[in-house]
């Protein structure tokens, strides 16, 4: 046992310096006014119902992240399912292709979308050359959703795929043996058994989507700022660290609460799946 304790020391030090201390600092900043005095003003400013500017941004972040997550699920589940049914060799190549974009820099990928979507971008040039109406999607919520889906889809596919390939084939045979045709087996056996993967996929796409600021900034333009942009602004533009920290705390609490709810749902179901948090 002692040996293990020593081996864990580097991580404990790392966690202390880079995880615990920053969180404590953020909490402290969030309760400080401009002069360093204790105040709740940062929070009351955010939850100002007579001027809901900030609440609107929060709502927009949750709303866009939720839509992105739903689209990821609708696209990702069938992809994961088809992938899990393929012969091993093809499966390896395809899952490699799904992961491949993740090796490229996140910013680069998002910039690439800008050149595709711009009014004079590749897609619109192509459309106008064909004499078709152009598609003015840049700097809209649609573009933000598109960016979210593109960037976070692999995080939906992989956990679902991992659960699906672990389902024992004999369980599916048992369902067929008891009279279940393909669709019954899917509804009554495969889907319920894959729920842990779905939940883990939802958390892995929703969380980065709700906190992102790069995608909304590059593809959404100024008018579609999300909570992530707002926080970024407090630190980099206005220098109001207190307000920025308060918003970070609010977001953290929201995510924690969402995780708890999903975790509880999963525990009720089984708990044998692979939630990554």
């Amino acid at each position: 046992m002692k040996k293990f304790r020593i081996a864990a020391l580097p991580f404990a030090v790392y966690a202390g310096i880079f995880i615990v201390a920053p969180i404590i600092l953020i909490f402290m900043y969030s309760f400080q006014g401009a002069g360093g005095e204790f105040t709740l003003e940062n929070f009351t400013r955010f939850f100002n119902f007579s001027d809901p500017t900030y609440l609107k941004v929060l709502w927009r972040s949750i709303y866009l992240a939720a839509i992105s997550t739903v689209i990821c699920l609708l696209l990702g589940y069938p992809m994961a399912y088809i992938l899990s049914k393929l012969p091993n060799r093809i499966r390896g190549i395809l899952s490699f292709l799904f992961v491949l974009p993740m090796w490229m820099n996140f910013l680069l990928r998002t910039y690439a979308w800008m050149t595709l979507l711009e009014r004079t971008g590749i897609i619109n040039t192509f459309l106008s050359n064909l004499g078709l109406p152009t598609w003015d999607i840049m700097y809209t919520q649609g573009a933000v959703i598109l960016g979210n889906v593109y960037n976070f889809l692999p995080f939906m596919i992989l956990p679902i795929y991992n659960v699906l390939i672990k389902i024992d084939k004999s369980v599916l045979e048992a369902s067929a043996d008891l009279g279940g045709n393909g669709s019954v087996t899917f509804r009554k056996v495969i889907f319920p058994l894959s729920i842990p993967g779905v939940i883990s996929g939802i958390s892995m796409t929703f969380m980065p989507a709700v906190t992102t600021f790069v995608i909304s900034k590059l593809l959404g333009g100024g008018q579609n700022a999300l909570i992530g942009d707002l926080i970024e602004n407090q630190f980099k533009v206005t220098g109001d660290w207190g307000f920025g920290s308060a918003m970070s705390v609010i977001l953290m609490v929201l995510i924690l609460a969402a995780m708890q709810i999903m975790q509880r749902y999963e525990d009720e179901n089984d708990g044998s799946g692979g939630v990554l948090l």
Partner: protein, 350 residues
């Protein structure tokens, strides 16, 4: 045969280059307990899975109740399966597992309740309805798997090595229980095992398989007493298999001695396998006409002692209730009808 329920006709099966079943022909009678017995890789599970519809034979026909069912998918076949590793639905509790098939067939909920409870009491697990299947022991999961299959009133129950994962005592209990259930319900059980004792204990008919071929079909007593070849003799219980020569009808020679026997129809001086069960030897005073040798070792086996008696180049396995001191020179007597003469098995063609 009019009470034939399942007929396999020239079933062959290959996975790529590898042929796992070679022209299997078999009739399964209604209401019988039939066991496919053989070492691993003999094709017994594949045969069962072809009957269940989970695998499709490369060639040949499967008939069920006179109907050709080659292309009938598993969910439309009138049989149910108990899988090797139970294959219970871990996201459902005991009740919902057993009710699974009945719900698919749109059985009214009150009837489902009645039938599930009847099944649970049959497998001695009344009161387990709300339990999670993952919380059950191996033996309990096994019973749930049996109940889940039988609740649908199948005409045939397929069992794929269902007792393999249980400990010896539990296995014995389940053997008796399964046999009792089969007789009480009066349906056909097709059972797959590599355990010869299990096969002999439970079955009406035993099908001994090896290398994708049926070696022998018969009653437990039939295949034990009259094995058709050295493989069956050796696989069903322990045997001494000795090289011998059939001098003429009813006379054979092995171990340098000549004996009367009850077999005939071999060529003059044909080399044969002589098979003698270890319990068929009687230890007597040595004398000229019988096999004589030295007791090399002795092991107490509970009911009997197991001894190895070395006579010249051959070592005989002998079971006897009377122990003999190691190093004693003894005679081995055997009755003519306990000497089984078998054609030399051909070298394996693969």
């Amino acid at each position: 045969m009019k009470d034939n329920l399942i007929r396999l006709e020239n079933i062959s099966m290959s996975y790529g280059e590898k042929q796992v079943l070679k022209s299997i022909n078999l009739d399964v009678r209604d209401k019988e307990f039939i066991t496919f017995l053989g070492p691993s890789g003999c094709g017994k599970t594949t045969t069962l899975r072809i009957i269940g519809g989970f695998e499709h034979q490369t060639s040949g026909n499967v008939y069920f109740d006179g109907q050709l069912i080659n292309d009938v998918p598993p969910h439309k076949r009138q049989l149910n399966t108990v899988f090797q590793k139970y294959a219970l639905f871990t996201h459902l509790n005991v009740y919902d597992n057993i009710a699974f098939g009945l719900r698919i067939s749109k059985t009214p909920e009150h009837e489902i309740k009645e039938r599930v409870q009847k099944m649970l009491s049959m497998v001695n697990l009344s009161g387990y309805e709300k339990r999670a299947v993952t919380s059950l022991s191996g033996g309990e999961q096994q019973r749930i798997a049996i109940a889940r299959a039988l609740v649908n009133h199948p005409r045939v129950l397929l069992l794929d090595e269902p007792l393999g994962a249980l400990d010896l005592k539990l296995r014995k209990e389940m053997q008796t229980e399964l046999k009792a259930i089969q007789q009480a319900l009066g349906i056909t059980f097709i059972f797959v095992t590599h355990d010869q004792e299990e096969a002999l204990t439970m079955s009406d008919t035993v099908v001994v398989m090896k290398g994708g071929k049926i070696q022998q079909i018969g009653t437990p007593i039939g295949i034990y007493n009259e094995p058709v070849n050295a493989f069956v003799a050796d696989f069903i219980g322990e045997s001494n298999i000795i090289d011998g020569i059939m001098n003429e009808d009813y006379v054979c020679t092995f171990g340098g001695k000549t004996f009367d026997c009850t077999d005939c129809g071999f060529a003059k001086n044909e080399p044969v396998d002589v098979v003698i069960r270890p319990e068929d030897f009687r230890m007597v005073m040595p004398r000229e006409e019988i096999i004589c040798g030295i007791v090399e070792n002795i092991v107490f086996k509970g009911v009997h002692y197991e001894m190895h008696v070395k006579s010249g180049e051959i070592t005989y396995l002998v079971h006897s209730t009377i122990p003999e001191v190691v190093g004693t020179f003894v005679g081995l007597e055997v009755e003519p009808f306990d000497i089984h003469i078998m054609k030399k098995s051909q070298p394996e063609e693969n």
